[in-house]
Amino acid sequence: MPAPTDSDVAATIGRLLREVAPQVLGVVVRRYRDFAACEDAVQEAFIAAATQWPGEGVPENPRAWLIQVASRRITDHVRAEAARRHREAIVVSLIPPDEQIALAADTGGATERDDTLDLLFMSCHPALSPASAIALTLRAVGGLTTAEIARAFLVPEATMAQRVSRAKQTIYLETLKGSPDSPAKSSARRSRAPLTRIKASGVAFEMPEAGAALGARLGSVMHVLYLMFSEGYAASQGSEILRSDLSGEALRLTRLLHGLVPDETEVAGLLALMLLTDARRAARTGPAGEIIPLDEQDRTAWDREAIAEGVALITETWPKGRVGPVQLQAGSAAVHDEAARADETDWPQILALYGVLSRMSDNPMVALNHAVALAMVEGPAAGLARLDEIASDPRLAGHHRLDAVRGHLLERAGDRTGAIACFRRAAEQTASTAERNYLLLQAARLSDVDRQVPGGRQRRTRAAFSK
């Protein structure tokens, strides 16, 4: 076997660093709380590792090594900052006395799981806007650089750097607030005295044991991961490659989360939903980036392996307990993916799933899908009646999907003029170029019939006569 080259070693170290990154940052942030400072310190530790390890060899416990170096950096950093700003009080309180002298190397085990989970909870904090939470999660847990995230979101690097730094600031302030029922919360807001702030902090970093608290925090993590996935899935032309990386990253992080909390059935459901949706990626757009709807996709281009994994996952998850909304959506995606042809789709089963789902969740998008399934099983009139029920929902006001669905159903009901008007209105409302193009073409396809060359009209007349 040839000796490993320098670039082999560098690649191995790179992989190793990326793997332990969330754990290291999780530990350091839990100890020192200042997210921005901790991230800088961890980055410095990584640079130190990348320069020292190739020559000196990888230490026996790389994770502990990195934590120790990062901790030393942050201790230095906090001290320097404090001295400069005359805030010695903060330094003393920020660093627990037993850690001011030497830091015990972390010995891994169960805490690794908590550290990564902690970091996910923090990055997906409900106080952050979704865009900030996605950016921060990609940065802190996914290990992407700010430049990479900026490219994926098609914004200048400086804009993304600002977004990430604002997010970190928000997290820091949130952690100073403490838990909702902590008496220190109000005093932390009233008083800016450092000691009060320190006392108030810490609570937010405690791991919720189980039950409602854990569920709520997992809920916000899942929400962010799903948005990250959709962001990549709704790829627009030109940026396709970079954006699909975003979906891939969301899948990777959801897989990681599922590994951390394997008994959380909704997390398993989310992973299954992503696998089953992502499996259709190659078939859902045409060569010029145009949208191809589900019933017209080339199903042989679907990723069979991903479908098999998603189906297996949702099948083994369902019997484990009460089936939640994400699992129901995954179930519906599985039914679609298992049909070899569009007209073999088991719509009654999808209708049943969306029936349960719309009773369980107040999401207007769920209601829209329910209307589609209803139309497929009971006919367009039933679907249109369901649409009328939800049309007054203010969350759907001006939303292009309502008119897009109505357009499809009106067309199936034979109301071409109504369908054209709906497709055109939807085209005006969407913010996606690919969707607008698709909707304009739907409207044009229908209005072409009216301005048809005489031949077309004659054919139609003859057909009418032959009835």
Partner: protein, 128 residues
């Protein structure tokens, strides 16, 4: 910066075109952007939503936004733009002419007006 302005009720009423013409137009616009990108000349390109979605915003005395809209009757509106990085104004004009000739109904070139403006740059380094 190449700005595509069209009159409110002018020839760019794409929604009312036959399907084949819309598809040809979309195809043209996509390959136009791809070609500029491949040539390394494209900095940015965006299509904008219609004027009926537009709002005009002004600050009130207290700084709060006052919105005003919609403007379907606007005489002329911006439907999209390209920012290109080229060596000479002539090259920018050439690209603009190509965009202007985008196919319309029946594949006939639209020959719409494309406004070409220079994007201001930072002062040269030696001036600092």
């Amino acid at each position: 910066m190449l700005m595509m302005n069209t009159p409110g009720k002018g020839p760019y009423q794409i929604a009312s075109w036959p399907k084949e013409d819309i598809a040809r137009h979309i195809q043209f616009m996509m390959s136009f952007a791809t070609k500029l990108g491949a040539a390394g000349e494209l900095v940015a390109a965006e299509g904008l939503s219609g004027p009926d979605q537009a709002k005009r915003v002004r600050a009130a005395a207290d700084g709060a936004p006052i919105t005003d809209g919609v403007f379907p009757e606007a005489k002329e509106f911006l439907v999209g733009y390209w920012i290109v990085d080229v060596d000479t104004p002539e090259r920018a004009y050439q690209i603009a002419a190509e965009a202007s000739a985008a196919p319309g109904v029946g594949g006939k070139p639209l020959n719409m007006a494309i406004e070409v403006r220079q994007v201001m740059t930072a002062p040269p380094a030696d001036a600092l």
